[in-house]
Amino acid sequence: MNATNLIQAILWGISIGAVFALIALGYTLVYGIIELINFAHGDVFMIGSFLALTLLVDFAYGTNARGRPVQAVFGPRLFLLIFAILLVVMLFCALLNVLIERLAYRPLRRAPRLAPLISAIGVSFILVNLGQLWKGSPPRDFPNLLPEVNVLPLLGLGDRLSFTTKDLFVIGVSIPLMLGLAAFIQRTKLGKAMRATAQDREAAALMGINTDLTISLTFLLGGALAGAAGLIYGLYTTQVWYLMGFRTGLIAFTAAVLGGIGNVRGAALGGFLIGLIASINDLGFAAIFPALQNTPGLSFLAGLNQQWTIVVIFGLLVLILVFRPSGLLGERVVDKA
């Protein structure tokens, strides 16, 4: 086994896993409270990354003498700008998500469960087409603004592995967001109202909780996290595309299911696990376990690489749904004793 490659895959997996986790939280929050798989959620993430792209190009770039765009903001001011854009994108996606719930899901609250699901797919199509209209069909380059300096040699850990300032940025933004969300849900009165509404909407209303408002709040939080993920993903991968919400959204949905859909801690855990699986697979089994190639019967595993990542992840989704639909941390408390 090539330990260096394995550890490298794990390090990368943490970064991309953090992005998956942020998106997965939006799926799981909404499922937890209204038992709806919000198929439009990934596309809110895509719209967030597009807004971040527009804002970054507008504010971080000027034009040189020949009229070509060049980066105009550097250093601490660049970080302040990115932080400000992060807040704007989070707010925008939060409000977009609330609007989607208000227009497309709330009118169907008493309808059979299939109706809002179909409505969600409809919203997804609308957002995808708006995205295509906005930024066109081909993938778009995202400003590569983050410095990419390997921090491991600075820590005296040598340079055989790579963990850069970019990875640090992803972790440094997403982990505080997740901890903030967890604290909000656990400690605050509104967070408790969200949990109460998720566990029994009718009883929550009898407590004096405005359940419609609480559901809006849930979409607000989920949208904000998707927006943050949009900016982070763009800066990290430096490429965005109008269809990425579908693909990345489904991966994040798999993460939510793996952790136990409806379970907030599960979504974060699932996000990181799927990130690990994806990055190990992206690096290729042959690079991590060279011996596989010569092992009779298992040599086919050596062929698992980037081209197969999506297959592996969605294969996993099917396996979880068949064998453990409640996921890793799914709740098993008897609700109606």
């Binding site: 009165k189 949990r195 566990q199 209303a205 009898l206 407590m207 004096g208 359940t211 408390v333 004793a337």
Partner: protein, 237 residues
Amino acid sequence: MALLQLDNVHAYYGNIHALKGVSLEVAEGEVVSLIGSNGAGKSTTLKTISGLLAPREGEVRLQGKRISGLPAHKIVARGVSQSPEGRKIFPRMSVRENLEMGAFARKSGAEIKGDTERVLDLFPRLRERLDQKAGTMSGGEQQMLAIGRALMARPNILLLDEPSMGLSPVLVDQIFDIIREINARGTTILLVEQNALKALEVATRGYVLQTGQIVLQDSAANLQRNEMVRKAYLGEE
């Protein structure tokens, strides 16, 4: 003036006409029992009062003011709270959090703290289990929590839906003692029960509901003597 008044209330589940002109009154300080068999519309009546169901016709008034048509969370703020059928506690929240939710509509932290103490004095079992997940408690404990949680709203009128359902005879006696105690401390109670015998023992007055209509109303003592009630609901031949 009655504290709570239902005036010719009609309510529907989809196309099912569940309440067909129910009129009843509860005066300040009373315990009023609503008895009747399964499906007579007892729980529907409570749901209509607490706003989970809007009447299609007729009015619910609290202290003379119309509350029907308001959403449930606003009706709680007016002073009506309910311990619902099947308890409906929040299973994955602690006992403490469940009680906090009961006081959701209230502002004053000091008052809520005082009321938490009073509820825990009334139900010492809950004090032992404050940090336990509510869903892991026994049925009797969950029932106590449901009643305690409803009291946390400091209601003018407490609606109790089948508080004795599924409990052992000893626990049933205990729950009814607590209902008396709550009333003695000044809370008006509208009680829905299948256990008509017990319900009429604690009540001042009672109503008998049959297929969505009030068929009989009288003092609890008279109802206990009424032949039709004895046959239909008290299990006598």
